[in-house]
Structures are given as C-alpha cells and as structure tokens.
Amino acid sequence: MACIEARGLRKSFGATVAVDGIDLRVEEGRILGLIGPNGAGKTTALNAILGLTPYQGELKVLGRDPWNDRDHLMLDVSFIADVAVLPRWLRVSQALDYVAGVHPRFDRAKAESFLGKTAIKRTSKVRELSKGMVAQLHLALVMAIDAKLLVLDEPTLGLDILYRKQFYDSLLNDYFDRTRTIVVTTHQVEEIQDVLTDLMFINRGRIVLNCSMEEFESRYLEVMVNPEQVAAARALKPLHERQVFGRSVLLFDRADRQQLAALGEVRTPSIADLFVAVMGNQNGAPQGAAQ
C-alpha cells in the first residue's frame, strides 16, 4: 500500500486553482522533497493530505480519507506545518504532558532525551524560547511520536544555518528508519539535496517533475562548456543555459555522458539549478535565456 495516493487531486479558492488535478503516489520509506515557487500549491496539497482542507478528486493517506478522518489519521501522521505554531503560552512541560495525554504513540522518554541535548528548560514558556529553540521543541515532540508519515512544511523557515543543519541531521539520524515516510517542502533546496530519496517540482498547481534521486542523478547533467565548443554543446538542445564566471553552463536532460565529457567539465546539477531551469522554461522563458 502506498503511503500517499492521489488521483486528480484538485482544490480551488474561488477562481484561483491552487492544486490542478495532481496524480501522486508516495511509497513507504521515501523522503520526498516538494519544491515549488511561492503560491505553487505546495501548502494546499499538503493541507489536503493532512485533512486540513477539503478537496476534489481521490486521496488516500495510509488508506484513510484525510478530510473525513483527520483525528484517526493523526495517530499515524505527524506534521510541522510552520515554524511558529506552538502556542506562546504553552510551557515545555505542559507540551510534554498534553501530547503524552492525547497521543498513544508518543514516547515521552524519547522527547525528554531529545530536549536533554538542547538548552531548553522544562519550565520555560514557548514565548521565552528563541525561534530556533521553538523549532527544536516542536521537532522533539514530533520525533517522539512513532508515526508512519511525517509532513514538514517549511520547517526551518527563518532559522539560522546552524539550527537548519541540526534539524535535518537529527531528522535523518534519530528519526528516519526507512519504514517511515517524510514529505518536506522548503525553499532552502540545497540543504535537503542529500537528504531526499525523491524529488517533485510543482508549479501552478501541477507537478512538473517527479523522479527519484537516483533518476535525478543519472538523468540530469550539467556541463561547464569549453568556450570554443559552446555552439556544439547548444546543438545538443540543453534544458537551460547560464553563465558562471564568463563560461557557459548547460544543463541537459537524458544526454550521453561521454558525448558531454568531450565538451567540458560534467557534473550532477544541484536541485536549485534544475529548479531554475525547469521553472524558467515553465514560465515561458525561451531556452538559454540566461545569456
């Protein structure tokens, strides 16, 4: 059974279509990065998956209908919807008490041990914690829940680089065990490149790219072309072209590695570069417009 399965998932707000008929299948044990520009429909899609918003089309999360069965679904699904949703009046000890009281899969000792590695005091209120500490607290609560699916929507927005690094490190080392599934959206794409197993670009409510990271690495290649071979390289129909230090960097989809190696230095592009390439084309810019 797939962890998330959607067919023709659609959601509109008045005349604005936020999610425009998405077909989606996320298997268990994957870490999926959902990448898209602001307003692409990422949060709306996640809200549908979490049962926070009604939708059209078919959607099953862990075999349940999220909109009609949110409270049961939340036994197996955790989410951090935003960096700052913990109420400011809540004490750390109260947060532990409450989640332990309502969640049968919450391991309090585990949460305490995560908190033990931080400077967070049990008697502090959320309003007394720094933004980074609030994220740590929320992550400690979520990681102590033995959930099958964890959804993270911009979990590190506004955090400094140390907290961001730590956040993904603890997630990978202390939480992810290959049976859980994680779906994450973020604008800090470069930070999750090594974390992901799957990648999905979404724009204007539609999926524009959906591949595993292995596929990503074998499919997309970036070449820093030798100046005299630029014309030859362009003839191979790159997806995108940009200039770095006066040299052309061309991004190819499904090109022959040997052939490219003759033109210059070949490497795997970053997700961010592919994102710019795909989105640039999506938004109607001609190929190679970066000149």
């Binding site: 049961h72 939340m74 989410f79 109420p87 009046w89 809540l90 009281g101 049968p104």
Partner: protein, 314 residues
C-alpha cells in the same frame, strides 16, 4: 500494510505495528479541558480574586459590626436577612464573575487558536474537532459552575469561621450564628442555581463559541450586532419585542421559572437568601423555551465543530 519483498525479516516487526487505538474519549476530553485551563488562567483566577474580595468586604464589615448591630431593627426577619446577606453576596459576586469570564472566554475560544496559528499544532494531534469544541463549551457550562459552587462553599465557610472567632473574642456565644445561617441550604440552592443557569444560558455560550469559530475579526461585534439587528428589525416591522425578551430571558438563563420569588404566605423573597422551598424545578424544566434553547445550543455547537474543521489560521 505489505512489506517490500526485499525487506529483511527483522524489519517486519517495526514496520507492522499494532494499529494504534485512540485514547479513550474521556481522557482526550480531560487533557483538552486542562489545556484550556493552562491557556486561560482567568477561568479560576478571576473567581478566586472575587472570593478574596468577598472575604475582605466581610472582614471589614465584621469590624464595624458592633456599630451597625445597634442600628438594626428589632424585626427578626430583617435581622436574619442582615445575618445571611454577606453569604448571599459571595454567591452573587462569583456568579457574576463567572458569567463575565465565561462570555469573554467563549468569544476567544475558537478565534484565538486561529489568530496565533496554534490550531495547526492542535490539529496535528489525534483529537477530533468535536472533542475540542466540547471541551471548550465545558468551560462556561461545567467548569465555571463547579468553581462557583466550590469557591463559594469555601469562602462562606471561612467567613463564618471568622465571624465565630470574632464572637468568641468579644465573649459572645457563636452557637446562635451557626444555627441561624443556613449555609448548607444556601449551597444546595446554589448548586440548583448554577445548573439552571448553565442549561438556560447554554444557547448563549454556544452562540458565542460558534461566532468565535466563524468570525475572522471583531468577534464581539459579530456576536452582538446580528442579535441587535434582529431586535431592531422586529420592532420596526412588527412593532413587537419578542426576540429581545427571548434574548434577555436566555441572558438570565430562564431563572425566573426556576424560583418562586413570592412565599406561599405572599411575602417577597430576597434574592440574597432564596430558601430551598422556593425552587420550582417543575416549572423550569416544563417550559418549552428551555428545550428550544438547548436545541439551538446543540445546533450552534454542531456548527462550531463544522466550522473548526474548515477553518484555517487567520
């Protein structure tokens, strides 16, 4: 849940956990109510402050008792009233405090969580919207009435002990005081009274909760203006005031039906001491207005549950 064919046998155990069962409804409700008390400490702080004020007022009154004592009339009924009045005051002060706290609490209950976006955290836990709304409705309808009863009992007990000490210090016998002040009876009438108010005012609180789940801002105005508009429209169109009188009836919880304020001998009953013999539960429960009101309360709360399901942070 199928295990991938290439998975190791050991990994089948963690990947096939026993289906988690939701916590029992009572436990979810308990933690939800506790959560409300953590967030809104005024629910118990305000009645406690009111109780302390009642005690202070009583203490100041005691020190001046000897002077006023001489001025009291020889009428035994009046003397009795003067004696029980401070204890009745405590109950009234707490009832009014609880009402104010309950109204402001209800206006904010389903609005505040959207304003501070914490609704996204609460909704990430396996607690249904129904449980949440019931726990929030329980504050004005169950928790505050219980607090009124308990705090009044303790306050009045402290007051009568203070009074006893005062009498003993001035060499007077306190037995008459204990015999004359019907604290137990007053407490029973209070328990009946808070029940009447909770049932009678239920549509009012439910309405406030529903508006707080619905309105994006200015909850108070959305709660009050439509009611005012209907009252004015009725007056202008039909020149009647049925809606307004229905509203004021719910505001006092239909308590005019719950007590008889005339004794069988035709004497008026002072609201500071309503004897147990003056309660009229038959009339109260027999009035269809109560049941219509409760039906509306259920309707408003159902709407609040639905609204919370659809609502996102503001």
């Amino acid at each position: 849940m199928t295990t991938p064919p290439n998975a190791l046998p050991e990994s089948q155990i963690p990947s096939q956990p026993v289906a988690a069962v939701q916590r029992p409804a009572a436990q979810l409700l308990y933690w939800s109510v506790r959560r409300e008390l953590w967030e809104n400490r005024s629910i118990y702080v305000a009645p406690l402050v009111a109780a302390v004020l009642a005690m202070l007022g009583f203490f100041v009154g005691l020190t001046q008792f000897s002077r006023t004592h001489r001025m009291t009339s020889a009428d035994p009924a009046h003397q009795f009233l003067m004696l029980v009045m401070p204890y009745g005051h405590t109950a009234w002060l707490l009832l009014i405090t609880a009402f104010i706290v309950g109204v402001f609490y209800s206006l904010d209950a389903l609005h505040g969580e959207r304003r501070d976006r914490s609704i996204l955290f609460w909704k990430s836990l396996p607690v249904s919207d129904l449980t949440t709304v019931i726990s929030k409705a329980a504050i004005p309808l169950v928790v505050l009435p219980i607090l009124v009863v308990v705090i009044t009992a303790v306050t009045n007990l402290v007051m009568i002990l203070l009074n006893t000490a005062g009498l003993l210090l001035s060499g007077l016998n306190p037995i008459a005081l204990w015999r004359q002040v019907p604290l137990f009876q007053m407490e029973l009438v209070l328990i009946y009274g808070v029940t009447v108010l909770a049932l009678g005012q239920a549509p009012l609180y439910a309405w406030l909760l529903m508006v707080s789940a619905w309105a994006r801002r200015t909850v108070f105005l959305w709660a009050v203006l439509p009611l005012l508009a209907i009252s004015v429209a009725e007056k202008l169109v039909f020149n009647t005031t049925h809606f307004l009188s229905m509203l004021s009836d719910r505001l006092i919880g239909g308590s005019t039906d719950a007590f008889s304020f005339i004794t069988p001998s035709g004497a008026p009953v002072d609201p500071h001491f309503i004897p147990l013999s003056q309660i009229t539960p038959g009339k109260f429960f027999g009035n269809p207005d109560l049941w219509i009101g409760l039906a509306f309360a259920a309707l408003f709360l159902t709407a609040a549950v639905r609204l919370r399901r659809y609502r996102e942070p503001i």
